[in-house]
C-alpha cells in the first residue's frame, strides 16, 4: 500500500529536496538521550556501568549541541519537519540561537550532575533509575528548547515533568514525599493551564506551528482573545518558572530531594518555564507582551525581592539556594518585561548563566555538606582552613550569583539594566539593582559563616573549632566531586572574562525573537 494509488499530488505538501546532514543535529539530542535512556533502563541492574552509559550519551549530546549552535550561528535559524510533511502539517523542530544556546548549556549542566552523581547517589538509588531519569529529563529539556510546535512543547514539558517526579522521590523519605506532593500537584496544574491555553489558541488561529501562529496572530484584527491567551500563558509559565506569587512550591520542595537532583532541577526546570515565556511572549504574542509589560515588570520585581529577602531569612543552606533560584527568575522576567533587544539579550544571557550557576551552587551545597556534615548556617563553619580551594570556588560562585564582576552574572545584569534604562523603565532597573544588593548580602553572609569563621556560631575569631561528626577531610573528596565544580566555576569565570562571544550569541538570539522574520522564513520560506 505504498504510494502507488496517488489520485492527488501530495508532493506539494512534502519536503522533496535533499536535507543536509547537519540538519539532523536538530533531532540528534532528543534521539540520543532517548536511546541512552532506553539502554540504561535495559542495563539497570549493572549499577557500575550506568554512569558511563549516561556520561557517554551526554558527551555525544554536548558535541551535537555544539555543532547545532555553530550551524545556527553560521546558517541562521534551522528547521526540520518530521516525516517530510511541510509545516504547518508536520511537527517542526526549529532551532534559533536562543534554543540552541540553552540546549547546549543544559547538556553541559547535566553532564556535571551525571559526573557528580557517581559518588553521591547510592547503589540502590542507581538501580531505582537515577540515570535513566536524568537522561529522560535532558531529553524533555532539549526537546522543549528545540521544538517549533507549541503542542509538542507541551509534550516535552510532560516528559521532563514525569522524569522529575521520579527523581524527586528518589530515596523515598517522608520529607521527599511531602515535597513531591506540592511540587507535583502545582507543576501539573501549570502544564494543564498551558494545555488549556494551547487549545484556545488552536481554536483561534487553527494551527500549532509556532512560526505559523506568529504570522497569523500578527494579521489578527481583534486583539481581545489574544490578550486573554497571553495572560493565561503568562500565568502557566510563571507558575512553572516559580515567579511571585505562584512561587511557593519551589522553596517547599527543592530542599527535599537528593542534592544532585536539586542541582539539576534548579539548573534546568525553572529555566524551561522562562524559555517558554520568552518564546510565547516575544515570538508569538508581542502585542500581548506590550499589553502585559507593566504587570510582568511588577511580578518580576516582586519575584526578585521575594527571592533575595527570602534568602536572607533562611537558616538551611538548601532553602537559601532555593530562594536564590527565585531571585534569578525575577531577573529574567525583568528582561521580558522591558522587551527591547538589549534587555532580551540580557534575559537570554541570564538564563544561560542561571543554568550553570544554580547547578554549581547546589553541587557546592552538597560539597559543603560533605565537608561539614550540616546544612544549618548556625552550625557550619571553618571550611576555609580545611579546604582553601573549595572556599575559593565557593567565593567565585556566590559572587557570580549576586551578579558581581568579573563573573558571568555581571554581564547579564548589565545588559538587563542597560536595556531597562534604554526603554525608560528605570523602576525595573532599580528593582534589579536593589535585589542584587540583597542577594550580595545574603551570599556574603553565607560565605562568611560557612567558610571564613573558625567554627560554628559564637566561635571566637582566630580559633578553629573541632569538625562536626559526619564531616570529612578535603583529601577524601573524590575527583568526581571536584571535577564538575571546577569545570562549572571555570566556565562561569571564562564567560565573565570574555563575554563578547556570548553577548553576540545572545544578541543574535534576541534579534531573532523580536523580529520573527528569520524564524518564520526558516520554517516556511527556504524549505531546506
Amino acid at each position: 500500500m505504498a504510494a502507488t494509488k496517488t489520485t492527488v499530488d501530495i508532493t506539494a505538501a512534502m519536503v522533496t529536496e535533499a536535507v543536509p546532514l547537519a540538519d539532523w543535529l536538530l533531532v540528534a539530542p532528543v534521539l540520543l538521550t532517548m536511546a541512552g535512556g532506553a539502554i540504561s533502563i535495559i542495563f539497570r541492574k549493572k549499577s557500575a556501568t550506568q554512569p558511563w552509559i549516561a556520561i557517554t550519551t551526554i558527551a555525544l549530546v554536548i558535541l551535537s549541541n555544539i555543532g547545532l549552535l555553530n550551524h545556527v550561528l553560521t546558517n541562521g535559524v534551522v528547521t526540520m519537519v518530521m516525516g517530510s510533511w511541510l509545516p504547518p502539517f508536520g511537527i517542526a523542530f526549529t532551532a534559533d540561537p536562543l534554543g540552541a544556546l540553552l540546549a547546549l548549556t543544559a547538556s553541559v549542566a547535566t553532564m556535571c550532575v551525571a559526573v557528580f552523581a557517581m559518588n553521591s547517589i547510592a547503589e540502590n538509588e542507581r538501580r531505582y533509575g537515577f540515570y535513566p531519569f536524568l537522561l529522560m529529563l535532558l531529553c524533555g529539556v532539549t526537546g522543549s528548547f528545540l521544538t517549533g510546535d507549541i503542542f509538542n512543547l507541551y509534550v516535552w514539558f510532560e516528559v521532563l515533568l514525569i522524569s522529575s517526579f521520579g527523581m524527586q522521590i528518589l530515596g523515598n523519605e517522608k520529607v521527599q514525599i511531602d515535597g513531591a506532593v506540592k511540587y507535583a500537584v502545582l507543576n501539573l496544574i501549570a502544564t494543564t493551564l498551558f494545555l488549556a491555553a494551547t487549545g484556545l489558541l488552536y481554536g483561534l488561529v487553527g494551527t500549532l506551528n509556532m512560526a505559523d501562529i506568529a504570522g497569523k496572530l500578527k494579521a489578527f484584527d481583534s486583539s481581545g482573545p489574544m490578550l486573554g491567551l497571553a495572560t493565561l500563558y503568562f500565568l502557566a509559565f510563571a507558575m512553572k518558572a516559580a515567579a511571585f506569587p505562584v512561587n511557593f512550591w519551589l522553596p517547599a520542595s527543592y530542599h527535599t530531594p537528593r542534592l544532585v537532583v536539586a542541582a539539576i532541577f534548579a539548573g534546568l526546570l525553572t529555566k524551561v518555564g522562562v524559555y517558554a515565556l520568552l518564546r510565547v511572549m516575544l515570538l508569538l504574542m508581542p502585542e500581548g507582551r506590550d499589553w502585559l509589560a507593566s504587570l510582568i515588570g511588577i511580578v518580576a520585581i516582586a519575584t526578585m525581592l521575594t527571592g533575595s529577602l527570602g534568602a536572607l531569612a533562611q537558616t538551611d543552606i538548601r532553602r537559601l539556594m532555593a530562594y536564590l533560584v527565585i531571585a534569578g527568575i525575577g531577573a529574567m522576567m525583568a528582561g521580558i518585561a522591558v522587551g527591547n533587544e538589549v534587555a532580551v539579550s540580557g534575559a537570554i544571557f541570564y538564563s544561560m548563566h542561571s543554568v550553570l550557576i544554580m547547578t554549581a551552587l547546589y553541587l557546592l551545597v552538597a560539597f559543603m555538606f560533605q565537608m561539614s556534615g550540616t546544612f544549618s548556617l548556625r552550625e557550619i563553619g571553618g571550611l576555609y582552613i580545611r579546604t582553601p580551594l573549595g572556599a575559593g570556588i565557593g567565593l567565585i560562585l556566590l559572587l557570580a550569583v549576586a551578579g558581581l564582576p568579573p563573573f558571568s552574572g555581571f554581564w547579564a545584569k548589565l545588559l538587563l539594566v542597560a536595556g531597562a534604562l534604554e526603554a525608560g523603565r528605570g523602576w525595573v532597573a532599580a528593582g534589579i539593582l536593589v535585589s542584587g544588593l540583597f542577594t550580595t548580602i545574603a551570599v556574603g553572609r553565607l560565605w562568611i559563616f560557612a567558610f571564613w569563621r573558625g567554627g560554628n556560631e559564637h566561635t571566637v575569631d582566630g580559633i578553629q573549632a573541632l569538625p562536626i561528626a559526619g564531616s570529612s577531610d578535603a583529601s577524601e573528596i573524590s575527583w568526581s566531586i571536584w571535577l564538575p565544580l571546577v569545570v562549572l566555576t571555570a566556565l562561569i569565570f571564562i564567560i565573565g572574562i570574555l563575554p563578547e562571544t556570548m553577548m553576540s550569541i545572545t544578541e543574535n538570539g534576541a534579534k531573532t525573537l523580536i523580529d520573527p522574520t528569520a524564524y518564520i522564513g526558516s520554517v516556511f520560506g527556504g524549505i531546506r
Binding site: 535533499a18 536535507v19 539532523w24 533531532v27 534521539l31 535512556g37 532506553a38 518530521m82 517530510s84 523542530f93
Partner: protein, 138 residues
C-alpha cells in the same frame, strides 16, 4: 473472583487477547488500530492472567522484565526514525520495503517498526504498573 471457571478460561482468554493485540497492532497503519491500543489490549491480557493465576505466573510468562520490554520498545522507536538519514530526508520520513513472501507481498515500513516500538513501550510500562498494583493487593 478466583473461581475455577475463571482460572480455567483465563489462559485461553489471555492468549486470544494477545493474538488480537498483535492483529490490531499490524492493521494500524491503514485502518483503526495501532501500537498504543494494541499494547493496551496486551496489558489487559496480562492483567487477566495475573488476576487468575497470580503475578509471579505473569512475570514468568513475560520472560523479560516489563521495564526492559518498555526500554527496548523505546530503542526500537528511536532506531525506526533513523533510516531516512541515509536518504537525505527529514527525520521520521517513512521508508518502504516490499518483500515478496510465499507468493504474496509484505509491505515493511519504518512506521510499522515505530508502531511496534510504541506497542512494546505501552506493554512494558503499563504492565509494570499493573503488576506492581496487583502485587500490593495480594
Amino acid at each position: 473472583m478466583n473461581t475455577l471457571i475463571f482460572r480455567t478460561v483465563a489462559p485461553y482468554l489471555s492468549a486470544l487477547m494477545m493474538l488480537f493485540s498483535v492483529f490490531v497492532l499490524l492493521r494500524g497503519h491503514n485502518e483503526p488500530g495501532g501500537g498504543f491500543i494494541g499494547g493496551l489490549i496486551a496489558v489487559s491480557a496480562f492483567a487477566i492472567y495475573g488476576i487468575a493465576c497470580g503475578v509471579s505466573a505473569v512475570r514468568r510468562a513475560m520472560k523479560f522484565h516489563p521495564m526492559s520490554i518498555a526500554a527496548s520498545g523505546l530503542l526500537l522507536a528511536v532506531v525506526s526514525v533513523l533510516p531516512s538519514l541515509f536518504f537525505s530526508q527529514p527525520a521520521m520520513t517513512s521508508q518502504w520495503l516490499a518483500l515478496p513472501f510465499l507468493g504474496t507481498v509484505i509491505d515493511l515500513s519504518t512506521p510499522l517498526f515505530f508502531d511496534i516500538g510504541v506497542y512494546l513501550v505501552v506493554v512494558g510500562a503499563i504492565s509494570s504498573i499493573a503488576l506492581s498494583l496487583e502485587e500490593r493487593a495480594d
